[in-house]
Amino acid sequence: MKEFKIQNLIFKIMVVFPICSMLFALCLPLSADALTAEEVVKKSQEAFFYQGKDFKARVMMKLISKSGQERVRELTMLRKNYGASGGEQKYFMYFYQPADVKDMTFMVYKYPAKDDDRWLFVPAINMVRRIAAQDKSSSFVGSDFTYEDVSGRDIEDDTHEIVKEEKLGANDCFVIKSAPKKADVDYSYKLSWIDKGNFLPLKDEYYDKKGGLYRVFSGEEIKDVKGFPTVTKRTMKNLSSGHRTEVTYVKADYNINIEDNLFSERFLKQPPRKWIE
């Protein structure tokens, strides 16, 4: 009887535990697999647009035409979160280049599920103006990126589904299909390759109303900044025009305690050096 008990114990140790552990181990990817498409997109937005309490980057944008002509937009972008991921954010941008927009500043109060507030400061006439902004799909400073590409799109505006899981380069990815519920953007759907590890988007493909691929985003360099994986080089290419925009974060930082009052008319007119440099 006692011998049986010992055998039973040995059986448990030798067989049951390993099987349980294996099952448990198997459960791990299964539980990740069990994420819904909405959850993947939410995590991706968190990782891409909401990382940290606040964020600052010196941004170099190169607008490159099909023939190779380059135009440069250089700016400092500051962002602060108000509330949870997917919630309200404030953006402050200061332009260094080109020369005709130097010292211009631009401020956005971004709200979920309603139009943003946007203000522009024109230094030559010392004037702050609100600008009409109901169209989030319009180009950001003439680049191939839209305002939504820069600051995110409401998750509820699209239906999301996981189409497949595959490797992109060396990275395991979810491939998510997001289709706008309303025809408020140029594309009929978007396929996103989202890294299973850090949930950053590595590639987005935009398909037009006829189902043709016409616009491709690629996250080309990911660096760790203060523990946050950050896309520090990205490109948006328009396949129909051949025009592309390359964006590099020359410097980036998180959790730098940006004060609330930065996002004000006062500092739009006189951007503090410590924040824009």
Binding site: P98, D115, I125, S138, S143, N261, R266
Partner: protein
Amino acid sequence: MIRLILILLLATSIAYLSAYAEDVSLHGFLQGNYSVDTAKSNPNGKDFKWAEERVQLKLDASKEPFRLFLKTDIFYDHIDDASHLDVREGYADYTSSIWDARTGRQIITWGFGDLIFINDVFPKDYEAFFSGRPLEYLKIGSDAVKIGMYPSFASAELIIIPFFEPNNFPDHKRFFMFNPMPAVTEREEEKPATTFENTEVAFRLYRDVAGMDASLYFYRGFFRQPSMLPDSITSPAKIDLVYPELTVYGASLQGRALDGVLSLEAGYYDSREDRDGTDPMVPNSQTRFLVGYQRQMWEDCTLGLQYYSEYMDDYSEYEENLPSGFPQEKKLHQLASVRLTQFLIHQTLRFSFFSFYSPSDDDYLLNPEVKYNFTDSVWAAVGASVFGGGDEWDQFGSLDENDNIYVQIRYEF
């Protein structure tokens, strides 16, 4: 003279600070700007309203909490065949956490109007605007001290202007304009003297109210458009151009509404030297009101609409006292405007159309323009200023013979 000394002092201090500043930058542009008559030659026989080559230098030096800024233009005017130096701006900033100060020549812009100014009581150059010069030349710097205060409940700006600067109106050698007393050629401009009592004071209190940008305004100073004061109404020999005393109380509100941006602005112009409205040579008190709406029509296309009105107080007193032969202003002067802007080719090509139309006077201004950025540093714009309608003394009707086509080309560095 005092101003010149102040400017020289500022230039010296900038040069001095530049040596110690943590951050010094020099930018500017080279510009050509030409505006050719299309209706008829100027009164002086020339065919251009404006023809210049210009260099602008912007020197910016800062060492926290101080900053110095100097923007100087040097240009050659082909109509007068003369070169000029123009200190556009030159000021020193001091910034602390809850207040700041700017001292020197500075451009101040208040209110929400698009080329319509109610609470923006600061100097303007209308000749620049009508001659097809870049928009920034519509504003003239004020030699002033501006104090900004930022307590938690609201922000405030107090502006003190010791040196009076009038608006610049079109020059009679270059522009055909209405002249109510053409026989009197002797004219003398009398600017308010630089005294303590004549110091202009402007105050603005502003904050966010339910997601809207709200401001209250106060100004005590002078009209910047001169009034004609003949030495005799019946047989004048000389006209003094004077700037009557003015106080303005105003408010404005701007925010998101109707899928666009809605702006409301109002002001009461208290004409302190003619409160009963009986002096025909001094403007009566007025209430001014503006409503503006701007929305994005489609990608890179914006539409802006404005309606503006001026209501004259004590109109019957004005009518009774107006000398015969003088044009009579309306009790309600109205102005509407439309601005349509379309960007193309990655926002490097811009088509814009701006127009004023007065429903009360039936006169108009049309201003179409095309601007193209050839590279990041070179742009050119071609446009036209067309005036007409109404009577020969109306705001735009009086400029009927001054239509012009203009070119601006600029290299920025």
